[in-house]
């Protein structure tokens, strides 16, 4: 007979016999064990053995719930460990994500900067006028204007002079690419403050490199990660 069966077998007998008459004997300050034990003993007659049997059985429910408790503890522990693990993984993944997003931001802002520099270079007045000359444009003649409110025409427009081309005296700015080439040609430790005059573009400009460069992709480029999967953080000069 298992412990559980015993307990269920015993209980009806106890409650039936101890029902009404014994209640008055238990004073409020007395431990509750005694009134519970006495009626059980009185009913059967053999006080000694009768008392011991239920005492022996008391631990059984504890032992039983102890197993459940242990399982619960282990479950909680495992859950906590899992939670810590997951948190850690998530946090460090976020860290790496942060690094890669920052790198991406830097890449984007730097490629933006390159584009902006190109626009600024093309917008420089010298380059605009050079382009205008190339297209055969000339300075305008005298202008006239029409007042839309009154319809009055003021001024006398004249034809432009075909020879009167703009510009030519102010040197064109050095383009970012030329500047790069000149800077690279210079020995960095020879002249620190300025590049030598008229540093000619070296024979092998990075022209070929800019277009036919291997694996030129944007977004997440296939970088050399030395066998790893996580890119190292990059920095710009401006503390990004």
């Amino acid at each position: 007979m298992t412990v559980t069966q015993q307990r269920f077998a015993m209980q009806p007998a106890q409650t039936r016999e101890s029902a009404a008459p014994q209640i008055g004997q238990a004073a409020p300050w007395q431990p509750s064990i005694r009134p519970a034990a006495r009626p059980a003993g009185g009913a059967v007659g053999d006080v000694g053995t009768r008392r011991r049997t239920p005492l022996a059985l008391v631990p059984t429910p504890i032992r039983k719930s102890g197993r459940g408790f242990a399982a619960l503890c282990i479950a909680v522990l495992v859950a906590a460990l899992m939670a810590v693990l997951i948190t850690n993984i998530t946090v460090s993944n976020r860290q790496y994500e942060l690094v890669s997003l920052k790198n991406e931001q830097l890449d984007l802002s730097q490629s933006n900067e390159v584009l902006r520099q190109q626009v600024e270079h093309l917008e420089a007045p010298q380059n605009l006028s050079a382009e205008a000359r190339r297209l055969g444009m000339v300075n305008p003649g005298d202008i006239a204007s029409i007042d839309l409110a009154t319809g009055a025409v003021t001024g006398t427009a004249t034809a432009a002079d075909a020879e009167d081309q703009p510009g030519g005296h102010v040197a064109s700015p050095v383009s970012p690419e030329e500047k790069q080439a000149a800077a690279q040609a210079a020995d960095p430790e020879a002249a620190d403050t300025a590049q030598p005059e008229g540093a000619a573009a070296p024979a092998a400009t990075p022209e070929g490199g800019t277009e036919g460069g291997p694996e030129e992709t944007t977004g997440v480029p296939e970088q050399d990660l030395n066998g790893g999967t996580i890119p190292a953080p990059q920095f710009s000069a401006r503390g990004n």
């Binding site: 730097q110 010298q126 403050t193 050399d224 000069a237 503390g239």
Partner: protein
């Protein structure tokens, strides 16, 4: 259960083992306890600090240097990211690298990688090898490469090759406005121009970031962290328009070249506000390469070079005389040569003695007549007007190196200087002074301080506009109106007839001053100050060309001013007025056309 001797022995043995184990455990515990006491009790805070220092990293956050913008917000100077490539030569050798395709490590020869790097950097392979190979732990291979080149160079994977981020200044317009912008030294120290004078605004405030890192270099999340963010520098927006500046530089360079002069300059000003639209020199420094240009042109010569103005100085003499009772139509007898207080004053070219109006004398720029007109006013009054116009005073437009010119008090004038100051000799001023004087006359007699900086723009795009100067009244409205007609006469029938602009009324005054050199006057400065349109003056242009070659009779710079004014009127959509000229007669009697 009965005890046997064998059982007792086993029990003793296991008991001893137990006791032995307990002793060892206790000993270890004692060691740990002692260590704990040492760490926690003896120097707890010291250890904590050391540990913190091990983990804590502080990084200075460099603020971004502000840009310099033109009046339309176009970039004149900005900072860009660059990298210095540096090698630890001790590590540069053959190496093993991961091959992404085969998925395994393989040997790479250094020579092969260097050849690849040489193509990327555009440096000769031999030269590159010299720079890369050696024993030095720190050797700069190449400075200031773009992020793109840096990425390609590092992709090759040569060990010991590192990139250090640096900031570089970019001047996309080259030498346009170069002398105004100034430049930075190789180490980023501002050396000239606005870069120097506005450094306080441009540079911003550095921040600092402290955080703890783990042994693998990744930041420890939730650990101590503090960050003082950097405050980026302010952008400085100028009153300069880069297109106007370029046009002015083109025009003055052409003029200076055609007369083979030492230098020439032009200042373009808004007549109503004193805002400087352009300050051009015949030669201008390219801030990207300052050493290629003579140091004279590192700053605007309109600001730094003073000279005796010659006849453009008559503008203030006549305005003061008109202010004090002389009428433009008063009649004077003007000979070619005349003696005043023992000083012979003569005109530059011989002419008959004429009866002329005040305006006529100004139109033909006769010195003898000018002295007659100007000496109707007390010397002290004339001096004070000149002083108030700014001659002999520094003009603060936010640029270093302004030249105040020389104007001494009347008490120190010698017998001849008293008269020469009436027609622009015996004192010096800059082209900016000249522009400011004409601006005062053109703006109803109210002088506005010349202004170069329009606004400071914070990193969050909020603008701090520099308030417009209130202005100082120097001449009356009436004097101003009369002066504009006098100036128109010069362009219509006087010394500046090539200064006309079809469709608009233009006024101006020419001048050819003798330039002092070693051993006396030995050259000239020819100048012109013009204003248009006269019905509602908008633009003032002042030009001077220093030490032109050839005959003075052939020099004229008013055509350059007319070209500039035409450009300005068209660019800023000022419609032609087609009004008749309103200048005064040169002679009280007909004919008006007489030989010079």
């Amino acid at each position: 259960m009965a005890r046997t001797p064998g059982d007792g022995a086993a029990l003793d043995a296991s008991g001893r083992r137990l006791r032995f184990g307990v002793l060892i455990a206790l000993a270890l515990l004692a060691v740990l306890g002692l260590r704990l006491v040492v760490i926690q009790g003896v120097d707890a805070s010291g250890h904590a600090t050391v540990a913190m220092q091990e983990r804590l990293r502080s990084v200075t956050i460099t603020p971004e240097r502000g840009s310099i913008l033109d009046s339309q917000g176009r970039v004149l100077a900005a900072s860009v990211d660059r990298y210095d490539l540096v090698a630890d030569q001790r590590l540069v050798k053959d190496y093993r690298a991961w091959n992404n395709e085969t998925g395994e490590m393989e040997d790479v020869s250094l020579d092969e990688s260097l050849r690849e790097l040489s193509t990327v950097l555009g440096i000769d392979a031999g030269e590159l090898k010299d720079r890369m190979v050696g024993e030095r732990p720190y050797k700069v291979i190449v400075k200031r490469v773009t992020p793109e080149v840096k990425a390609k160079a590092l992709e090759i994977g040569i060990p010991g090759l590192l990139a250090e981020p640096v900031s570089e200044r970019s001047y996309p317009n080259g030498s346009v406005a170069g002398s105004i912008l100034g430049f930075l030294g190789g180490d980023g120290t501002p050396l000239e121009g606005l870069e120097l004078s506005q450094d306080e605004h441009l540079s911003g405030t550095a921040g600092e970031r402290s955080y703890e890192i783990a042994a693998d270099g990744v930041r420890i999340p939730n650990a101590e962290f503090s960050e003082t963010p950097a405050v980026d520098g302010q952008d400085v927006r100028l009153t300069i328009d880069q297109d106007v500046q370029w046009f002015a530089q083109e025009a003055i360079a052409e003029k200076t070249e055609s007369y083979d002069a030492l230098w020439g300059n032009m200042t373009v000003m808004n007549a109503k506000t004193g805002e400087i639209l352009a300050m051009a020199d015949s030669t201008t420094v390219d801030p990207a390469d300052p050493t290629a240009t003579d140091t004279l042109f590192w700053r605007p010569t309109s600001l730094t070079q003073s000279y005796e103005p010659g006849s453009t100085g008559k503008i203030s003499s006549f305005a003061t005389a008109l202010e004090h009772g002389v009428s433009p139509t008063d009649t004077w007898t003007v000979p070619n040569k005349q003696e005043f207080d023992g000083q012979i004053i003569s005109d530059s070219a011989p002419h008959d003695t004429y009866d002329m109006t005040t305006a006529g004398i100004f139109t033909r720029s006769y010195n003898t007549g000018t002295v007659q007109v100007a000496q109707t006013v007390d010397d002290q009054v004339r001096y004070e007007d000149m002083k108030r116009l700014g001659i002999g005073e520094h003009l603060d437009i936010g640029l270093p190196g302004s030249n105040k010119g020389i104007l001494v008090e009347p008490s120190q004038w010698d017998g001849r200087q008293r008269f020469t100051t009436m027609f622009g000799q015996g004192y010096t001023q800059t082209t900016l002074h000249l522009a400011q004087i004409l601006q005062t006359v053109a703006n109803g007699g109210v002088q506005k301080d010349p202004q170069l900086i329009d606004a400071y723009i914070d990193a969050d795009d909020s603008e701090n506009v520099v308030p417009e100067a209130e202005g100082t009244r120097i001449y009356s409205e009436e004097t101003s109106q009369q002066m504009l007609k006098l100036l128109e006469g010069v362009v219509q029938q006087g010394t500046a007839q090539t200064g006309k602009v079809p469709g608009y009324r233009v006024g101006g005054k020419t001048g050819t001053g003798e330039a002092a050199g070693v051993g006396g006057y030995n050259g000239y400065t020819t100048s012109f100050a013009g204003v248009a349109p006269l019905d509602d003056p908008q633009f003032v242009v002042a030009i001077s060309v220093h030490r032109p070659q050839g005959n003075w009779k052939n020099w004229e710079v008013e055509d350059t001013a007319a070209e500039m004014l035409t450009y300005l009127l068209t660019k800023y959509n000022v419609p032609p007025q087609d009004q008749e000229p309103q200048h005064y007669d040169v002679f009280p009697d007909e004919p008006q056309k007489r030989p010079w």
